[in-house]
């Protein structure tokens, strides 16, 4: 596999704050690579250093074999970038905006094709200032796509989109991958990272806390399944802790979580227990651990809120 992004011991400080604290990772050609982390984790800082618009304090960065700080032009003409919270010219129309940005790249995609790709055909002749937040977000993703770059960089591409638009955009991103492009994205949506990314770097306080494919990360950290009991009758029931197949009982606000390596045994034990307690067992669900759980386990905090 060919490496297209290589980051080694990257450090970026703002005063005393280490926004990026000794990050190292690499991204292979053709993969969708995600950086998952909470607000302020250092995702955008890393992102902007890699695309060559922010200077680093130390470390090595290579994009398509080139240092983006030393030869920004050589990198920029071969990548497409969507920036978090960047506006575009307010008085231009959607179409004019894409035409303008297409003009900056040596080999851009056709404007109309890209407009269709992000579902803005009906709005293409109205001014950006009259468009909704979600439509502007899709426009800024389209700006990254129109570059026809070898790597497409997306900083929180689906923030501000409704669930349907988010799913549509995931489709477009997978299509980019099918075209052989590499996608580097950041997100703080666990689901997005899990469904979309081939590999994920989970970062917190500027450090990588876990790196790998979503499935790898989950199985590495959780051999057990979670059985979530929603029934209030079983809340804080001490006998749950006596079940032999259960390794851990976690009481959350609105549910009780049993961790178990042997789901069948636990369900049998549980139904026996409810029978002796005279309760009907009818409101529980089984959940595999997800990246959120990985983050929770590694940092003791949730990604969002």
């Amino acid at each position: 596999m060919m490496t297209v992004i290589e980051v080694k011991n990257l450090i970026k400080k703002y005063g005393n704050l280490k926004a990026v604290d000794n990050l190292s990772f690499s991204v292979s050609k053709g993969e969708i690579f995600g950086m998952l982390g909470p607000n302020g984790a250092g995702k955008s800082t890393t992102f902007e250093i890699i695309v060559g618009i922010l200077r680093r304090d130390s470390g090595d960065v290579k994009v398509l074999g080139v240092d983006p700080e030393k030869q920004p032009e050589a990198v920029k003409s071969r990548i497409g970038v969507q920036l978090q919270a960047a506006q575009t010219f307010r008085k231009l129309t959607v179409r004019e905006t894409l035409k303008l940005f297409a003009g900056f790249y040596p080999n851009p995609l056709p404007v109309d094709e890209t407009i269709a790709q992000v579902d803005l055909v009906e709005k293409m002749n109205s001014r950006v200032e009259t468009r909704s937040g979600g439509q502007r977000q899709r426009l800024s993703v389209a700006i990254a796509m129109i570059s026809n770059g070898e790597i497409i960089f997306l900083d929180e591409p689906t923030t501000g989109l409704d669930p349907q638009a988010r799913r549509d955009l995931w489709g477009s991103i997978i299509e980019l991958k099918n075209l052989g492009k590499t996608v580097f994205l950041t997100t703080h949506f666990m689901e997005e990272a899990q469904k979309l990314c081939d590999r994920v770097a989970i970062i917190d306080y500027g450090k990588i806390v876990a790196l790998g494919s979503p499935q790898e990360l989950i199985t590495a950290h959780f051999q057990e399944m979670s059985l979530e009991i929603v029934q209030p009758e079983l809340r804080n029931e001490p006998k749950l802790r006596e079940l032999t197949s259960v390794t851990e009982v976690i009481e959350l606000n609105d549910l009780t979580v049993l961790r178990t390596p042997n789901l069948t045994a636990t369900i049998q034990e549980l139904s026996a227990l409810t029978k002796t307690l005279g309760i009907k067992l009818d409101d529980f669900r089984i959940r595999q651990a997800n990246l959120e759980d990985v983050f929770l386990k590694l940092t003791g905090r949730r990604i969002k809120q």
């Binding site: 902007e48 032009e73 960047a86 010219f89 008085k91 900056f104 040596p106």
Partner: protein, 387 residues
């Protein structure tokens, strides 16, 4: 190159599709020149027309010679001047009592000027010419400057020997009575002061348009458009060239509107042809737009940008002497003025529009403005960052 024009058009659309901005762009120069025109131009008819209102001018000839006579004649040639030749004590008496607002004393040694021109320049000689002018008639000083230095230039080829020594009041040792004047002639009425005031004010306005117009780049920075552009292959130089070109174009057009309406609406006298004037305006605009862009590279926010521009503008406004005749300022300030770019633009504008002889020499003015443009452009390109 295609990308450059697309960026230019995009920028222009961004500016002119904003209705407020568009109308202000047109309205500003119109209101500006109309304001000055109404206040300062002669009430009836084009400039130079004799409409009966005269300024009393006393000329004192300390020697009897052809050069002093020629200068006197030049003063008499101005329709708005009622010139009287007086003795020094009579003239000062009239000035003290307010009978005349302008006294020019031509010393006897002035006569060597046409005869020994080369020697004077070689020896770096100065001949002092005392002038008394009432503060409410300072605008007359532009005419005095023009005539005196003009005459000097004719015989010397450059205005470098005559040193106008301007006084606003008579000191007691000069022996005249210091009475409050009875100013019965309303200043300004009938005299086309616009000729003498507008070029300086226009220079100041070009400075303001240049400095404050560049603030837009900070707005682009704050909205992160700049960062987004920075992530594309668009070269920094091309982006800056587009920005600066638009700003220069805009204030150039505005300045031309001012001069155009000033000329056709309010009788502003144009001493040179349009092409020549436009050239000077363009150079002045380029100098101050580049300067504005250079200063934006020192600011992070719109607020700090505004503060910098405000400070620069204040310093230049007060130290360039566009509000006051040069000759009135103390010597050290005159030295300071020589380091203020606006001084040279104002000098150039007076030369190009009103035909005043340049105080520092046209080449100096041009060199300074061109130098500023180049210096600021290079600094801007070097210091400019996308992030």
């Amino acid at each position: 190159m295609k990308a450059f024009f697309q960026l230019l058009t995009a920028n222009m659309k961004e500016i002119f599709r904003d209705r407020m901005q568009f109308w202000w762009f047109i309205l500003f120069p119109v209101l500006f020149v109309t304001g000055f025109g109404v206040v300062y131009s002669s009430t009836g008819g084009p400039a130079g027309e004799d409409n009966g209102i005269k300024f009393e001018v006393s000329i004192v000839k300390e020697g009897e010679g052809a050069f002093a006579a020629a200068i006197t004649e030049a003063f008499e040639g101005v329709p708005e001047f009622a010139v009287q030749t007086r003795t020094k004590s009579e003239a000062l008496q009239d000035f003290a009592t307010g009978k005349s607002g302008l006294v020019i004393i031509l010393p006897a040694e002035l006569e060597v000027l046409p005869v020994a021109a080369d020697n004077l320049i070689d020896e770096d000689r100065r001949i002092e010419i005392p002038v008394y002018c009432r503060p409410d008639q300072f605008f007359l000083m532009y005419a005095v400057n023009k005539i005196l230095h003009g005459a000097e230039k004719e015989v010397l080829g450059q205005p470098s020997v005559m040193e106008i020594k301007l006084n606003t009041a008579i000191t007691h040792d000069e022996g005249a009575k210091d009475e409050p004047g009875n100013k019965n002639d309303a200043p300004g009425a009938g005299f086309n002061i616009i000729d003498y005031i507008l070029p300086g004010i226009l220079a100041m306005t070009l400075m303001q348009l240049g400095l404050f117009g560049s603030i837009r780049v900070l707005a682009l920075r704050v909205s992160r458009i700049l960062k987004l552009l920075g992530s594309t292959p668009l070269p920094r130089g091309m982006f800056l060239a587009g920005e600066i070109l638009i700003r220069v174009g805009m204030s150039f057009i505005q300045a031309l509107i001012v001069i155009f309406i000033g000329h056709y609406g309010f009788g502003l006298t144009l001493a040179n042809n349009w092409l020549y004037i436009a050239g000077w305006v363009l150079l002045g605009t380029a100098a101050f737009v580049s300067m504005g862009y250079m200063f934006t590279t020192f600011a992070k926010t719109i607020e700090s940008g505004n503060a910098i521009m405000q400070l620069v503008q204040l310093l230049m406004m007060f130290l360039s002497g566009i509000f006051m005749p040069l000759d009135l300022l103390p010597g050290y300030l005159q030295t300071v003025m020589r380091f203020i770019p606006l001084t040279y633009l104002a000098d150039g504008m007076r030369h190009a529009i009103a035909g005043n002889p340049s105080l520092y020499g046209i080449t100096t003015d041009l060199a300074v403005l061109l130098g500023i443009t180049i210096f600021c452009l290079i600094t801007t390109v070097k210091r400019f960052r996308w992030e």
